[in-house]
């Protein structure tokens, strides 16, 4: 006979859901009916894609009193009913519609980096939330490669502090890299992989932090429980401890009158005769096509779907794609190098326990003039579950047959580090339209991706260093799997309409009331996981839009450079003026300007 559970059951378990009721973890729920705008009613904002950026924008614009509708191609999750503590059973969290991938180093999508459903990629991210470094915003000025951002770290810093409280981020009291700072919630306990990373780094004299920064609650937070260390972060956190905008911002948005139309695929952005966008056309869950009029359209579909929607919205006056007078929509696509370094230890590790994301080093983040490449990398903990680990053994060791069975029996002896390397923006890495169409009859994205010389040198050096750390931790066998992680770019920001698609707030240079806000607008990507920066930029864009009001629709010369920061727009119980600021104990790295590698077209 089965043992009786000793802990009982958290929450209410499966039940017949009431209309409009969503369980978002064992305790948190949205129970009030969601506002429904009348068909044919023009709203203030339409948001295409309720993910990392779209969720934050939806919440802020609704709280500021605007009429907002968010569209998502995937479901509005009820996490108790829809999510499982199981690798294979989490298939539906990912953007599994067809994309065609090519180039000499083709990217994998789906579970690798693409979410579908309310919360988007934040539903299945591991939750590492490092900030970008000040140097990330001036890569071209400092290193002569890539591109500069039209804004500096100082422009984003207050929004980092704001989002670190709203998410909230747990981590060390002293984070030494970039602009040193602390975190509002305490660090998490280490799992076996974190132990290995700390041990290896310590042995080699490499600085390392433990217990974060990660978007997982270290204490209960409002109606969200704290982490239970079950290790299924990237399968969707049923606990409600790991942040997704689904649980951190969407409930507040609904409470303040936002509408979400889930399972609705936006097929086209509509352009009026006055050169302003007038709304969107979309397919609902039954495949019926509708239009929604809006004063402003915000596209938050990430690096593949945002360019794809613009290209699929080509029309008279924008034959090459909407807002694409620069010809750069879809160009300068990036992915971070995400090699997995695996080490076998004589002792047991059991890396399925604890959140995959819980320790890292950014000691190699900045350009080092002694190396023969620009920019750098981070080393982080990861915690592949059995299916992911078996696939890694296939690529890293060539395992199959009896060899695969045998190495898998040693699963509990292995630890895994994630290398995270900065790949520079190159114009030939791009999103275009394929001739094939999807289930809606829309042309699918065709992605071309190839590494360049600087990228290859950086990856080779960084992966070697990561393997060295794994050996120093005591691993007796160390192997690695090449891989690419987060997507960035595809519609980059800049001051010059000829060399960029949007300004620093995401407003397209071509169409004043069409705004892009997601990872696609980043000119470069650093070697920090992009999730925090995407959300911080969304909060900044929200402040800009609220300050501009109606004026956002006019073609005036932009006057607002630094909108006032609206601290009162934070979701309930997350308000507060940021996190500890610290003075650096170390000198800033001195970086010779330029001359490291041939400049790019940036």
């Amino acid at each position: 006979m089965m043992k009786k559970p000793v802990l009982g059951r958290m929450g209410s378990g499966l039940r017949t859901p009431k209309p409009h009721e969503h369980m978002l973890g064992p305790i948190q729920k949205i129970s009030q009916p969601m506002r429904r705008f009348d068909p044919g009613e023009e709203v203030d904002y339409v948001i295409v894609g309720v993910g990392a950026a779209g969720g934050v924008l939806l919440q802020r614009l609704a709280r500021a009193g605007f009429r907002v509708v968010g569209f998502d191609a995937g479901p509005f999750w009820d996490t108790e009913r829809d999510w499982v503590s199981d690798e294979a059973g989490s298939y539906n969290l990912y953007w599994n519609d067809l994309r065609v991938t090519g180039g000499s180093d083709p990217l994998a999508f789906g579970a690798n980096n693409s979410g579908k459903g309310v919360g988007g990629g934040t539903v299945h991210w591991a939750g590492f939330t490092p900030r970008f470094h000040p140097s990330d915003f001036r890569v071209y000025s400092e290193d002569g490669v890539g591109a500069d951002w039209p804004i500096s770290y100082e422009d984003v810093k207050p929004y980092y502090e704001l989002m670190e409280r709203e998410i909230p981020v747990s981590g060390p009291a002293y984070y030494p890299w970039g602009d040193p700072h602390g975190y509002p919630y305490g660090p998490h306990p280490l799992g076996g992989v974190g132990d290995a990373l700390v041990k290896g780094c310590t042995k080699l004299g490499i600085g390392v932090v433990a217990g974060g920064p990660v978007a997982i609650t270290a204490g209960s937070h409002g109606d969200r429980p704290h982490c239970i260390y079950r290790g299924f972060c990237i399968q969707g956190c049923k606990v409600g401890a790991k942040q997704s905008t689904l649980i951190s911002h969407v409930p507040d948005a609904i409470r303040h009158g936002a509408e979400i139309r889930d399972r609705c695929m936006v097929s086209r952005i509509l352009l009026g005769s006055d050169g302003l966008v007038t709304g969107v056309r979309y397919f609902d869950a039954n495949g019926q096509e509708h239009e929604q009029r809006a004063k402003v359209v915000l596209v938050c579909g990430y690096s593949i779907e945002t360019p794809r929607l613009l290209l699929n919205s080509a029309c008279s006056g924008f034959e090459q794609g909407l807002a694409n007078s620069s010809g750069l929509v879809g160009k300068f696509l990036m992915a971070q190098a995400g090699n997995v370094v695996l080490g076998r230890f004589a002792d047991l590790v059991r890396m399925y326990k604890a959140p995959p994301a819980h320790a890292l080093t950014e000691e190699f983040y900045e350009t080092d003039p002694k190396r023969d490449f620009a920019r750098g990398f981070a080393i982080q903990t990861v915690g592949p579950l059995p299916i992911a680990f078996a696939k890694q053994m296939m690529t890293a060791k060539g395992a199959w047959g009896w060899g695969l069975r045998q190495v898998m029996m040693d699963y509990n002896h292995w630890a895994a580090f994630g290398f995270l390397g900065e790949i520079l923006p190159w114009e030939d890495n791009r999103v275009e339209l394929a001739d094939e169409t999807d289930q809606y009859g829309l042309r699918v994205a065709k992605i071309t991706f190839s590494l360049h010389d600087n990228d290859k040198k950086l990856v080779a050096f960084g992966v070697n260093k990561t393997m060295e750390v794994m050996r120093a931790a005591g691993a007796e066998e160390v192997v690695q799997e090449p891989r690419y992680a987060h997507l960035i770019g595809g519609a980059r920001m800049g001051n010059d309409p000829r060399s960029s698609v949007v300004d620093s707030f995401g407003r397209t240079h071509d169409i004043p009331n069409l705004i892009l806000c997601d990872g696609s607008i980043f000119p470069t990507q650093g070697s920090a996981n992009p999730g925090l920066t995407i959300q911080a930029l969304a909060a900044r864009t929200a402040d800009y839009l609220i300050s501009e009001g109606e004026a956002v629709r006019s073609r005036h010369t932009q006057t607002i450079i630094r909108p006032p920061i609206r601290y009162h727009l934070s979701p309930a119980s997350t308000a507060g003026r940021g996190v500890p600021r610290l003075r650096s104990l170390r000198p800033r790295p001195t970086i010779g300007a330029g001359g490291l590698a041939p400049g790019s077209k940036g």
């Binding site: 108790e80 067809l98 090519g102 990217l107 002792d347 604890a354 995959p356 982080q380 296939m394 047959g401």
Partner: protein, 288 residues
Amino acid sequence: MAIGRQRAKEHVAGSPNGNITSQSEQGAQAAQSKQTGPDTTMLPTNPRTGEPLAPRAQPGYYPGFSTLRQQAFWDEATRNVVLERVQHTPPIRFFSPEEAQLMESVCARILPQDDRDEAHIIPIVCRIDERLYAGRIDGYRYEDMPPDGEAHRLGLRAIEAIAQHLYGVAFVELGPGEQERVLATIHDGEPPAAEDIWQRMSVSRYWMLLVQDCIEAYYSHPYAWDEIGFGGPAYPRGYVRLENGLPESWEVNERRYEWRAPSWAISGEYQPMGGGDTAATPGQEGTH
């Protein structure tokens, strides 16, 4: 990697069409003895004694550990998904009967289960069939690959062509050692036959598709979790012992035993895919 390439070439050179090797005879004998009693040549062995290890309900180093026995501690949605997987075997609807039979032989070498007793075999082909029948994809297709279903069909034709080229015999008729050698030519990136098919799809990407589909079927099953000592679903209970690989009160300590792949199995040794050009075959699974 040199060894990997060498072994395929040796085989092409050493096995002209139609020449059945002694390996194959051994396999044929093995197949015969299957009718009369347990076929010990299929089994992994104890490296000290050379004795075959009898099939067991639960191979691996965690005897007595059962994730399914923990199901009362799982949330209901997860329990439903996992039990459905254990209790229901979908019918074959995508593959033809001939394709399904060949696929069974192939998958029995990609993830061999001869060390499991009959009652604890994890179904693989029906899971792949189910995915292909439903048209479920992972969200992308490489531009040098046909759609997944077509790729699997072409792959089976290629495997059959390689078997005929190397041994002059159908793949399903070969002994396990020859079957492994046929598959190893694809793993190594140097298939000696079916050139027309490899014009239409990448060898290494087909290999990854095949192996990954087998992995998803096998390692999503609770029997496989028990075998490798993975804790399985962990909500709402979570874990309390995070460090030093220590077991929870409901987990068990590792109890290792030595074992070696059957003597005919070249898959027991690790060779890089595609002759060692790992950059050409990056991983496709999300981790960070």
